[in-house]
């Protein structure tokens, strides 16, 4: 076989891989939804300090997870290509269980607001690795740094500061992803 043919074969193979990877990298819906869920929890904490925010997440996170699973299922049917869902499901369960447990166990201490944020940052780092997404990795590192800073500085309204940083970052990345998905979907 001629080397130019080999080059073409490699080029065509990489193009097929790239197209598939870009379809599978779609994450606008969960990024925007969980970002809004986080932003929505800020007024809950400010208006009703106490267990209301735990209820918010215990109800909101599973509902948002089910909606996300349905969204990915619809994309799979539309495009005819799908990723292995189990690593994503395991990571999402880890985030929900870990963040809720630390939030309850660390009540009235730095662990209560910085712990869940740290778990979310670590979880998003796993998502970033699974999706090979640089923006999600950058946001995850930002959330981890923010969690550590809040634990050290213990400012007033620490929970609100943390979820606003996470929520705004998540919504912004979701909007950028949405624009890219619309371009790919034509």
């Amino acid at each position: 076989m001629q080397t130019s043919e080999t080059d073409q074969l490699l080029g065509a193979t990489r193009a097929a891989s790239r197209r598939t990877r870009s379809i599978l990298a779609a994450n606008s819906f969960p990024m925007i939804l969980f970002g809004l869920l986080a932003l929505g929890s800020a007024p809950v904490v400010e208006v009703w300090p106490g267990p209301a925010v735990v209820v918010w997440w215990l109800v909101g996170a599973p509902l948002a997870s089910v909606a996300t699973a349905l969204w990915y299922r619809r994309r799979e049917m539309e495009h005819g290509v799908a990723a292995n869902a189990w690593p994503f499901i395991a990571t999402a369960i880890g985030i929900i269980v870990g963040a809720t447990a630390l939030g309850i166990l660390g009540r009235d201490s730095a662990l209560g607001f910085a712990g869940p944020l740290f778990v979310i940052g670590a979880g998003y780092l796993v998502f970033a690795r699974l999706e090979r997404s640089v923006p999600v990795a950058a946001m995850a590192i930002g959330v981890l740094v923010c969690a550590i800073a809040l634990a050290v500085l213990k400012p007033a309204h620490a929970y609100t500061i943390g979820v606003v940083i996470f929520g705004v970052g998540s919504v912004l990345i979701g909007l950028v992803s949405l624009a890219r998905e619309r371009r790919i979907d034509g």
Binding site: M1, T3, T6, D7, L9, L10, A12, T13, R14, A16, S17, R19, T20, R21, L24, M77, H79, G80, V81, A82, A83, N84, A85
Partner: protein, 108 residues
């Protein structure tokens, strides 16, 4: 497996060394599964052409077919087997080595 001094062309796999079959494996290594329509449209081939290439890959144990009805219509989903993933990676490495070797010799 060929030794390091052998020409990279010796390592090419005749089953996989074809545009459509290599494309099918490239997609299935990225994704967990893809359906027949996605593979056909992405690779720009006809139904009959893709079917023939999928048969070759199935017979070589490189992919698995899963036929099911979705909303009353038949759908064929395709997955790479572990052997298919390994074979694909080895093929791409051999192709890369072949191109690198050619370019290096062309510079001399």
């Amino acid at each position: 497996m060929a030794d390091e001094s052998s020409h990279p062309a010796v390592e090419l796999d005749e089953t996989v060394h074809q545009r459509v079959r290599l494309g099918v494996l490239a997609i299935l290594v990225e994704a967990d599964r893809a359906n027949f329509t996605y593979l056909r449209d992405t690779l720009g081939v006809t139904d009959g052409n893709l079917s023939a290439h999928l048969n070759v890959l199935v017979n070589a144990g490189l992919v698995q077919l899963d036929k099911r009805f979705v909303e009353g219509r038949p759908r064929t989903w395709v997955r790479a087997t572990p052997k298919g993933r390994t074979t694909f990676r080895a093929e791409v490495e051999a192709l890369d080595r072949l191109v690198t070797r050619y370019r290096a010799s062309a510079k001399v």
